[in-house]
Symmetry: C2
Subunit: 337 residues, 2 copies
């Protein structure tokens, strides 16, 4: 029985086949590759923001165009106005905009209340640029990125014992997203300013009480990428750097037993590969964690072309390119200006 | 210094950006996904074949349409005629066509003389269907597939020692393709009728004198896919099932030392990772072997996001989807019938 449905729950959106209208978000009026895609409702909110008296303005004194609205908007693209060209200005504008939306209660199911993270994510000029913290065009509050369809980056580690079992945490029931579901051994978003391995080491301590001496033995083994549309329809294309950490079984070395620390995880359980697959099938894992575990099971020889009829489909879809460059003028939008 | 150029030598073609005119090859007049892409010169040769007095005809006695030409040709698609609908008929037609081209000296730089392999490859209704030998729409002589842009399938194994060195063969100087270049430890195409692991076991003996008892310990660890355009311009999208085999160092177990058997390989050398990378950079590897080795080096933690600025670009491009479904009516062709 194929495991493809597990991929389809996570890589569940394609610019090529969507019926949605999506307006590309560009860094400038003439750029050729979008950095995100917007629903028409968001475009309307950007127009409202443009015409609000308190919209953000670059504060350069001699900037002759400082009074132009912050966003350029046509029917085929949205972009930063010509006066907004620096990392600092783009970031300040996005901060002002997103906080205004939050404070007026817009999109409260996405960015409201406890959902707001106070964590800045980098947005790169080319989607899927490596997250090395260099070269970002601007930063935006983490939870707002899905409103714009910006690509975000994370780290996911599978911690397994020498006898082949996998440490699986259950997310706290109080967690804002996916409460109570199963997760990867250690996982988290990469905030602006940290390199992937630095993020992983931080998350290893916060989520699993694993000190740096152990965490730094994690092996970097690839990345997973997939185009995820959230249950409420927002676009969340993601890249996850993937790590393996092989540790002794718990009866051998107790310092290798992960334990909850920051409250995001409720408990850890050591599962066999068969148990992991069974929980994947019954949709008990957070969708993207199941995808990272599929990658692990393929790399470790548990899933093969002989036992999985959609082996190639799975492997290519969990290493997806998002195709932003194919839609510089948007998807299913009117081409008239 | 990025290793991306190694990928670019192999994944060197895209339907999205090519300037070439390409006519899609469909299984039937109304199918929605092509199985291959043809240059206009090939379309002309199919028209010539259609009008030749000795073209192949289905031999069903009561087939009222048996006298129609074997290929349907419009400006936006080529397809098997409505009377040719079975695996057997499609395969027999392709055999007749390809042998006629060979015997009349057409495309002799691709299919002539010693290049002809007498090896049948499966063509699947959906490109990138897994090569399980079931579900093929027809078979075609191996070397002819590139004339049609059909996806072909192979196996590639990296045999490495416990101390981290890699067994690298040099191709025989007499080999028809890529003579004298470096290769993967064991590699070969998957002929119709064999499953991937069966192919690998066969190749392990033929190319490296490794018996089945050793070969079957190879671990299936994924697949690589890339759209390759040959040096003479033909399209050769490929999927390679990827295997790892860890063996003792040669001073420990001499039965694990690969040796040439069938003359395709001249010699084997045990190289360090650094030596392998150096030979990759100096273009001494057959391009697709370098790609499989990149995948190996990523999975084993030698190439990381911290030391490779194009990590994501490399990983997604060596797990490429070919986008056939986006071009049911061809690429850069006139849309008029």
């Amino acid at each position: 029985m194929t495991l493809l449905p597990i991929v389809e729950r996570c890589d569940n959106f394609s610019l090529d086949t969507t019926k949605e209208q999506l307006v590309p978000f560009h860094l400038s009026k003439d750029s050729t590759v979008p950095v995100g895609f917007l629903y028409p409702s968001i475009v309307q909110h950007l127009l409202d923001y443009n015409s609000a008296p308190d919209h953000w303005r670059p504060n350069a004194e001699n900037n002759a165009t400082a009074d132009e609205p912050p966003f350029g908007v046509s029917s085929s693209r949205v972009y930063f106005s010509p006066s907004i060209t620096t990392f600092q200005d783009r970031s300040a504008l996005c901060k002002h905009l997103c906080e205004k939306w939050r404070d007026t209660g817009l999109f409260s199911d996405v960015i409201g209340g406890r959902l707001w993270r106070n964590e800045l994510y980098p947005i790169y000029p080319l989607a899927m640029r490596d997250n090395t913290t260099e070269g970002a065009a601007f930063v935006m509050e983490r939870v707002c990125c899905a409103l714009f369809g910006f690509v975000t980056y994370g780290v996911h580690m599978t911690m397994y014992t020498e006898d082949g079992r996998i440490w699986v945490p259950r997310r706290a029931k109080t967690k804002q997203t996916w409460p109570g579901l199963l997760d990867n051994s250690v996982a988290g978003g990469i905030p602006y300013g940290l390199k992937p391995m630095e993020s992983l080491i931080k998350e290893c301590m916060e989520e699993a009480s694993l000190p740096e001496e152990i965490a730094k033995n994690a092996k970097t083994v690839g990345c997973a990428s997939y185009f995820y549309q959230t249950r409420t329809g927002w676009l969340q294309p993601e890249v996850e750097y993937v790590y393996d950490l092989c540790v002794p079984a718990p009866d051998v070395g107790s310092q290798y037993i992960p334990k909850p620390l920051d409250g995001e995880v409720e408990s850890f359980e050591l599962m066999t590969v068969e148990e992991v697959i069974q929980h994947m099938r019954s949709e008990e894992f957070k969708p993207n964690c199941a995808v990272v575990l599929l990658d692990f099971l393929i790399r470790h020889g548990h899933i093969t072309p002989e036992n999985e009829p959609n082996y190639i489909e799975i492997l290519t879809r969990i290493h997806a390119r998002f195709g932003f460059e194919r839609y510089p003028n948007g998807v299913n939008t009117s081409s008239a200006e």
